[in-house]
Subunit: 421 residues, 2 copies
């Protein structure tokens, strides 16, 4: 086979059955946004590389993104994430926006990484953000929204866990354990990937920092934090209890999130078993908008998840429902070229009644082939109009599930079919 | 203002109100696909440049597309159109697909052209294709689907016209007027842009071809074609009459469509007045799949339209309805930090009842500010729970439209609000 028929590596061909599953995932994401009050927005897929340099090194961006040179030799980046675009758009419209504002985006993102289970180079990401509130209520609303996505998919607390932490609490607690400001950033870097390290490698990496109290830091990182150890966590769990969501959430000191822009709450949702990949991640970023204009003091908190990872998770837990990709409820067959006119009249009548209907798009195929088409496409009803029916002013309706068929008056076909579909 | 807050040229920031309008346009496009039996699919946004070289010169593609070099120095193209990806996907799955198949895609396309009214560098395009039928019924179904998009927007035959032509009919008729095979391709090129030429320039361009019968060709091109002049057109109009769609359609010899791959029917929808830009275009392409595998003889017919041009058309004709961007039906206010618990209980109760509800995400703002938030966001109902209400076990519901407010039992709030929204 011609290799050109394959998509490029890490990119997906979505044939109708897969696209229908993706649309189901999108509908869960959109419904959650609606239920929790997030308005949809969108921004460009290509952005000037400058907007990503605020928070990452150029070297990292060059390694992890797809780039385009425009005709003025500017480097444009296929957006790897939405938050920098969001911060740009908030900065641009800061005079017009009614704050706080809850925003939702679902769109493509691109990362030049090795594809693996739950990760492609091209994927959809859904982002939910609350902009303009520094209140812990906004943090909890984000957690509630995130949890609703998973319960909306039919998952339970036995299948996913929300790991929460706080950058600022971590900072304070580590400082109390003697970590100085030079050691803080590299230590957070080690914590960010400690899940992937052996006990030994973890110890080695920690040793390089020259901490005054290595053992105490290790003990702190390896053990659960008591919510009562800090006023932020105490208040967070008090609120989560009122939301009846505390059963989903655990404080986990190993969660710090890789991105530099987080300032407070950070969280990740992970499967309890199976994939080790994070399913959703987010946190509070109170200084991101001010990188555009230091006079703009606009706090934010939000999170993102991807269709690829949700799909893998839902599949692992048998949570993908049966979805029909073919919208058609009634197929009007074409008995032979001489009966086209009658079939066209019926299909148009059905459509005018608001029924999803199609006419078999070829007038010279055997009825048998047309019935097979309906069957393979899961079209529930078929209408047959031969010369006899035309003479009598009737049509034959066949229910492909029950195999029953009956004759009805052609004039009444729209109304009768409307009751069936 | 920092220039970095602007999107790059030809790319759009869609704040919620604009995104809601775009979603409305998407819903019309999707509903039409459903009504006419088209299944949704999608493919990659980046494709190997090779798949476009089948039908256009590399020079043209380099001039009109955004390109990415991958790490193997392969040139990837941000898809400028969907049809080549579709042909690739059909060729790849030709053994599995049930043909004929009706396919619908809505997705981003990118063209490196000068932005103007109805045209951006980044835009959504909706593609509708019938693959695997060479029957004129498939042609007419495409025309019917295309027309339904415009009637679905509320447009009438006074506002848009469907110009149809046929590449093969043109070929025959021009041949009969003495055009030889060397002259045919450059002549079609002139015809494709003759709308934009003055009478004089048109005559000049035609003259360069050295036709044997220039005047007859000019007369043919400048005058309507009688449907009865050709069996294809005669049958097309016979069917269009049965569909009751003939009033929208005109044969126009100046429509040939620029793309090389069209083989039969070609058509464009244009506004009757205003913009000269084509709103939708398509045609029959019977040899496109065989460019991947010459053993695959799979005919196709389809068309595409863009959100940008539909938006401009709908705006020109005042066809854009009022759309709400904020999904929230009920805002639960937070009277003061001491009442947060009661407000959270109510908002969660509403959400469990399937109501789109939000809690004001800050507990230290005056009620007045919260009511303004509801008002500016067009949220129809507000719930207020102060210390008095908590004591009585009630909540106050305020209808922001009628300004009426009433007190209801907190226990019944879910059921009562469900009746209102």
């Amino acid at each position: 086979m011609n290799t050109l028929v394959q998509p490029i590596k890490g990119f997906r061909d979505l044939y109708p059955q897969d696209k229908a599953i993706q649309n189901y995932l999108f509908s869960v994401l959109k419904k959650t946004a609606d239920r929790y009050g997030f308005e949809q927005y969108d921004g460009p897929l290509l952005e000037n590389i400058q907007i990503y340099l605020n928070k990452s090194s150029e070297e990292l961006i060059n390694r992890q993104t797809f780039q385009v040179k425009d005709r003025n030799d500017q480097t444009l980046v296929l957006r790897p994430e939405m938050t920098p675009s969001l911060a740009r758009m908030v900065a641009k419209a800061s005079q017009q926006l009614v704050l706080p504002i809850k925003l939702f985006n679902i769109g493509l993102r691109f990362r030049y990484e090795a594809p693996q289970k739950g990760r492609e180079r091209e994927f959809y990401q859904a982002d939910y953000d609350v902009i303009g509130s520094n209140d812990i209520l906004a943090d909890v609303e984000c957690l509630a929204t995130a949890i609703n996505i998973f319960t909306g998919l039919g998952a339970t607390e036995k299948q996913f866990v929300v790991n929460v932490n706080s950058r600022s609490v971590m900072h304070n607690q580590l400082q109390n354990l003697g970590v100085n400001s030079d050691q803080m950033k590299p230590l957070l870097g080690i914590i960010d990937h400690m899940d992937k390290l052996s006990e030994e490698d973890f110890a080695k990496e920690i040793a390089t920092l020259g901490l005054t109290n290595t053992e105490a830091v290790k003990t702190f990182l390896k053990n659960p934090i008591d919510p009562e150890s800090d006023p932020y966590f105490a208040q967070l769990f008090k609120l989560l209890k009122i939301y009846s969501l505390d059963k989903y959430v655990k404080i986990n000191p190993s969660i710090v999130r890789g991105l530099d822009y987080y300032t407070g709450l950070v969280f990740e949702i992970k499967p309890v078993e199976g994939m080790r990949r994070s399913l959703l991640g987010g946190g509070r970023y109170d200084n991101l908008v001010s990188t555009y204009d230091t006079s703009l003091n606009i706090p934010g908190v939000g999170f993102a998840t991807s269709d690829v990872v949700l799909w893998a998770f839902a599949k692992d837990h048998d949570l993908i429902p049966t979805v029909r990709s073919k919208p058609t409820d009634v197929l009007v067959t074409v008995f032979d070229p001489s009966t086209v006119e009658a079939s066209v009249q019926v299909v148009q009548e059905l459509r005018e009644k608001g029924i999803n209907a199609e006419i078999y798009p070829q007038s010279d195929k055997k009825l048998d082939k047309q019935l097979k088409y309906a069957d393979k496409n899961n079209i529930p009803f078929v209408i047959i109009i031969g010369a006899n029916e035309i003479a009598k002013g009737t049509v034959v309706v066949k229910d492909l599930k029950t195999k029953e068929q009956r004759e009805i008056e052609k004039e009444k076909v729209g109304g009768e079919m409307k009751l069936l579909v």
